[in-house]
Amino acid sequence: MKVELQHIHKHFGPVHANDDVSLTVEAGTIHGLLGENGAGKSTLVKILSGFITRDSGVILLDGQPAHIQSPADALRYGIGMLHQDPLDFPPLTVVENFMAGSPFTPPILNPRAAEREFRQWCARFNFDIDPHAQVGDLTVGERQQLEIVRLLANGVGTLILDEPTTGISASQKTLLFQTLRRLADEGKSIIFVSHKLEDVEALCDRVTVMRRGQVAGELDLRPLHAGAQQASSHQPEIAGRIVELMFGRALAMPTKPPTRRDEVILSIEGLVLRSDRLEIRVDQLSLHRGEVVGIAGLEGSGQQLFLTACAGLEPPAAGSIHIAGRNLTHRPYADFLRAGVCYVPADRLREGLIAGLTIQEHVALRASGRGFFIDRAEVRAEAERAIAAFNIRGRPDTYVERLSGGNQQRTQLALLPAPLSVLVMEHPTRGLDIESTLWVWQQLIARCQQGTAILFASSDLDEIVQYSDRVIVFSGGRVSPAIPVAELDVELLGQMIGGRF
């Protein structure tokens, strides 16, 4: 099925997530969609698959306008989407999942017929899934195969895949690519959303690169596949052009003053972290007092897992974490706090602050353990000092959920104890205006001058380059070595985010 998106616009509040985006995917082709965090590629495919509705623009399917308002609409038009986190029902069996969500399901189910059909589909693509297994017990790759089969059985002519190669094994990836190529050869159109240059180059016929809500450019990748010998000569050139289109600008200049001291404060050896979707390995990382290490990479590549493990909130599957020479692996979170490790999460109101409590109650909570009774006058005075020092627009008895995002972040910083050995931060300035961003980093650099090491993840490359001493890149569960910021340029960073290191 030929898919044409014309002049798509989508706003989320003040953010123009899709700004006049046009894209044509020919039937029988695999079309890559690339872009860094917030480029708008997820928004675009969610519009096509009916998860969000566009503000304006036209969708043509085989030349006919389509009215897609919901995922069910999209499925009726033959558009199916495979999400990064599988949207299936883990407590149900494979066959039950296979039957679920079809617009054609008869009122009385026939599990036997469904099982027979499911086996036929699996045989066709060499998938090996037990129809009676519980979906929660399958690997991410198998759940992906199940979802592909389910969508095909529902008659989709266009398949959208969002970051499908994250968390699956090499053999599953090979099988997935074979399957997608075969579906394209049968005349279906495939939209492949990814940030991994290698995967896009190996699989896609064409690639569209998005940047800041707009289409930055489109490239024909078929010369890469024309002949294996020629491919090697074309590859660097085309990869270079993709990176140029993705970032398309010079990075900001590093502005951080040198604050690094010789003493190592955090050291990590052979760390292995597992979630249900990812496995991350960090062989070796040492943070020095006063040093800032920034983590770049597409969101959801395991940064949060790593940060929470460093803060002692998530136990590692293997490996060790030392703080100031003390082994804190598998020690309770309270020991990390005592060692001066603090975590500042990105979701300020869900993870960092407690909605329903006031600023002074937060101050008191941090001081908890001083005795049994709260000295109200003292806590209030302390809250007033913090409000003045951190320039928070609020009063001691203001509820934190009434504060603006910037003031919530100032409150989080005001609550940090001093002295602090390691500060672990997730998106330290997300959603803040320029003034607040500069102010936050002023405070953080001041902490570094007192000897605090900072480990932070951000989706803003400029922020990472401006304020880090060294940079780590996460790409689909893989972790790069830490690179001094002086050795970085857009090309290298782009390649690393694309999974080449």
Binding site: S56, I354, G356, G371
Partner: protein
């Protein structure tokens, strides 16, 4: 083509009223509904209210029963203040009352065996030990629910309900088995204790100074703890956002278990008072459902202990006053339950609407 899905927060201006309007509106609607129900059952609402009030205060005996109910209700409600503030719906409070009563009965029977003619220890000491045992029994049952919730990851609602059935089962087994009355076993309970083991009362009424004193003392302590201590603040922090509280360094598990423990303690005391002050024996429904009523009281006051006393007093008066309805107006005494339930239901609806829609 232009199309947008309206978001949940985008509401017609009509809905954006001050929070007070939602809350008082809900109260007025619930009162109207109560009036309507009374009218449908063939009585005048004004007359019913009048009779209920008269029924609660017309004789010293009735006032005594209101105070006795209030004592037990206060202990249950005060305990629930801790669990509610920790974000827990501790429906197991009934079982904690029952198991407290069982523990009290056990100790009293131990110290005053059936064949004996006097308590082995001085009666006041025996009573004190019985009450202490009741508190420990409640703690045990509360911690059991807490352990199931914190370590077994079972919803505290199901853990509590399950333990309620278990406690009632144990009580009925004891009443019909090992602790049955000489000769006949019956639903009316175990053999009443010797009068020397009864709590002293205000005159000839059911109300006991000890019960009322314990209830008021518990309330006072709780108001101070929730408002002025780090423990109370940590409890509220955990209740409002367990993960954020954990990140900020509050030991969440410890706080949750403490809440279960304290609630069990007060509920167990309530069970002990029901045994030594009200029924003077163990009966199957020893809690008189005052644990559940305590849930309603605390929900109605939005978990703030400062308002527990007036509401608990009002509900106790409704409970006792409604007992006169069958005699005077030919109405079911369960009307009190309908009134209490509707008030709480609409208070919750009003609060929910205010939170969701009210203009800030």
């Amino acid at each position: 083509m232009n199309s947008t899905i309206p978001s949940q927060t985008a509401l017609p201006w009509l809905w954006r009223l001050p929070a007070l309007v939602y809350r008082s509106g809900a109260l007025i609607i619930s009162l109207l509904l109560i009036g309507l129900i009374v009218l449908l059952s063939g009585a005048s609402p004004v007359e019913v209210i009048g009779r209920m009030l008269v029924g609660a205060v017309s004789t010293p005996d009735q006032v005594g029963r209101v105070v006795a109910t209030l004592s037990t209700l206060l202990l249950c409600a005060v305990g629930l203040v801790y669990t509610f503030n920790a974000g827990l719906y501790n429906l197991g409070v009934e079982g904690q009352v029952t198991f407290g009563a069982i523990a009290t009965t056990f100790v009293l029977r131990l110290l005053y065996p059936e064949e004996a003619t006097a308590s082995l220890l001085p009666p006041p000491l025996t009573i004190a030990l019985g009450v202490l045992a009741g508190a420990l029994g409640g703690v045990l049952w509360g911690l059991l629910a807490g352990a199931l919730h914190v370590y077994g990851r079972i919803s505290e609602i199901f853990a509590g309900l399950g333990l309620n059935f278990a406690a009632t089962g144990v009580a009925i087994y004891l009443i019909f088995g090992p602790w049955k009355r000489p000769g006949v076993a019956s639903l009316s309970g175990t053999q009443p204790f010797d009068e020397s083991l009864w709590l002293g009362t205000f005159g000839q009424t059911e109300a006991t100074p000890v019960g009322l004193g314990l209830g008021l003392l518990a309330l006072l302590i709780t108001i101070v703890v929730m408002r002025n201590t780090y423990f109370g603040l940590r409890l509220r922090a955990v209740g409002k956002n367990q993960y954020a509280a954990h990140v900020l360094g509050v030991p969440a598990r410890q706080q949750l278990l403490s809440a279960f423990l304290i609630c069990g303690l007060f509920a167990g005391l309530a069970g002990a008072i029901q045994v030594v002050g009200v029924f003077h024996r163990l009966i199957p429904n020893i809690s008189s459902n005052l644990g559940f009523l305590g849930l309603l009281v605390v929900m109605l006051v939005n978990f703030d202990p400062r308002w527990v006393l007036p509401v608990a007093l009002f509900f106790s008066a409704l409970n006792i006053g409604s007992l006169q309805l069958p005699l005077s107006l030919g109405l079911e005494s369960s009307l009190a339950g309908v009134i209490q339930g509707l008030l709480v239901l609409f208070a919750l609806i009003g609060r929910g609407l205010a939170q969701r829609y009210a203009a800030s």
